[in-house]
Symmetry: C2
Subunit: 184 residues, 2 copies
């Protein structure tokens, strides 16, 4: 019988957004690590009727809840993985509203790779220090974000990272933000 | 024996940019229509060593020239098709420089779907009236572009369109820009 070493997120509920073309590694590793810390990770998409495929077309994941049905008062944080999915997520009003609500409530929002595209559409980057996949750095800067090229960046409750290889630092920063550790 | 009805682009040379994940329809229809008008269409990519695949993974196209080898003085216009390719093109300095050079020389630049992402990185949108795929409209606006939701938009030598269905209007606007017709 094995126990996790730590369960810092016991009792916490986390929204993990997906859309067509998501990064399989960013979705599965986020879900695995956060669940291992004791969190309930809820996969959220525009619809629960059909599964979504990752950008390689080899992974399928179905959502447990629609974005429109989520109320942020019932959740502690939002994760926005990358891939081609954020380009679609940012056109989904319910997903953008969900991110806006989380930011307004001061709840942690964590976006990796192309995930910050959703933050641009939600218009929540002005004056915030963030990182992202390099192709969209100019978009992040034009949206008022203070772009830095670092593996993972935490600015209060806002956590960003550049790419899948940054997942360990990204998820650790998210855990610390949820548990109320001060920004390092 | 058949002749094209018009060959308005006889003697003209046009750069057609590609990168991994291009929209097959936007590349092939642009090449076909412009060639039918008499133009020499040159496929340009970061390398000529291997073919590039479209976003569905079913089409492969090899480039005739690298972006670094193109001199805009030898060409009359640049076409930037959409798909996932522009997200990669905007990280290729030689491609961005090529677009900057064309704009500086007042030569027509035509971008469709996600193609305007390259125009954002080239920083050539301030005060220009443009359209694009809706997911990046906010990025276009943040870059100083005057976004409108119309099938195809011509602002002087700058031509933009929203999606593959807009190709006929997009390509006609490009032909008119190359042949020196005034903006309608």
């Amino acid at each position: 019988m094995t126990f996790p070493v730590t369960t810092r997120l016991s009792g916490r509920r986390i929204v993990l957004l997906i859309e067509e073309g998501f990064s399989a590694r960013e979705v599965t590793e986020s879900a695995r690590v956060l669940a291992a810390e004791g969190a309930e990770v809820v996969i959220v998409a525009p619809t629960v009727k059909a599964p979504y495929r990752d950008k390689s077309g080899t992974h399928e994941i179905a959502a447990a809840m629609t974005a429109g049905a989520v109320r942020m008062k019932d959740f502690d944080a939002v994760v926005i993985p990358g891939g081609h999915a954020p380009d679609r997520m940012r056109m989904r009003h319910a997903m953008v509203d969900l991110v806006t609500d989380a930011m307004a409530a001061g709840k942690p929002v964590a976006a990796i790779c192309h995930g910050p595209q959703v933050l641009i559409t939600a218009n929540v980057l002005r004056g915030r220090t963030v990182t992202c996949w390099p192709s969209i750095a100019v978009d992040v800067k034009n949206a008022g974000g203070l772009y830095v090229d670092r593996p993972a960046v935490r600015d209060g409750a806002l956590i960003t990272a550049r790419k899948s290889d940054d997942l360990p630092a990204f998820l650790e920063a998210l855990v610390e933000a949820i548990t109320g550790s001060p920004t390092p």
